[in-house]
Amino acid sequence: MSTLIIIDQSPYGSWAGREALDMTFSLAAFDQPAALLFVGPGVHWLCQGQNADNLGQKSVEKNLSAASMFGVEDILADAGSCARYNLAIEHLISGTTLVESIRDTIAGYNQVVFAG
């Protein structure tokens, strides 16, 4: 049973992405295959150099960098969304894989889940 969690909202402006990440880590903690796909404004989760100190929030970049350590299998980003926001692969946290087709990507998982 493989699960793809999709995050389509920008970090910091909403809590839904953090709760999606908690779901992903939770699957991994129970040894269930889980991967993350970032689309639309959600690709900003993956930017290097985030600093949310002045917002009083923890940087999500650190949380995400720990994802592979927690057993999250893949961190995927929609290539079209990255292009739109002028993000090249070198701007993104290491270990990110660009995918060309959301349709083909989600076809590879038993379950596809949004957190909100």
Partner: protein, 92 residues
């Protein structure tokens, strides 16, 4: 994963997730429109797959039911029947 998929969305047709939902739609899949998504029934800019269904209660509430093809309108029992038929379901 070759199974067909039941896509369920409650997002209005202008919502980005509505677009992702339609772009993920494959031959053999079905689509249920609920809540704000029923506005797609009368959306002149958005073609829907032929196997699309809309919750009648939501369409009536928003006064789009009488302008939609009747065969597309379903009740909650039909909704459950569809979820039982398709083993893979994505809630967009």
């Amino acid at each position: 994963m070759t199974d067909t998929t039941l896509h369920i969305t409650n997002k209005a047709p202008d919502h980005p997730r509505f677009r992702y939902c339609l772009s993920a739609f494959k031959e053999g899949d079905a689509l249920i429109l609920m809540e704000d998504a029923v506005l797609a029934l009368t959306d002149q800019e958005q073609a829907l797959p032929s196997t699309s269904y809309a919750l009648s209660a939501d369409a009536q509430a928003r006064a789009v039911a009488n302008r939609a093809p009747r065969q597309q309108l379903i009740d909650y029992n039909d909704f459950v029947q569809l979820t039982a038929t398709y083993s893979r379901i994505i809630n967009w």
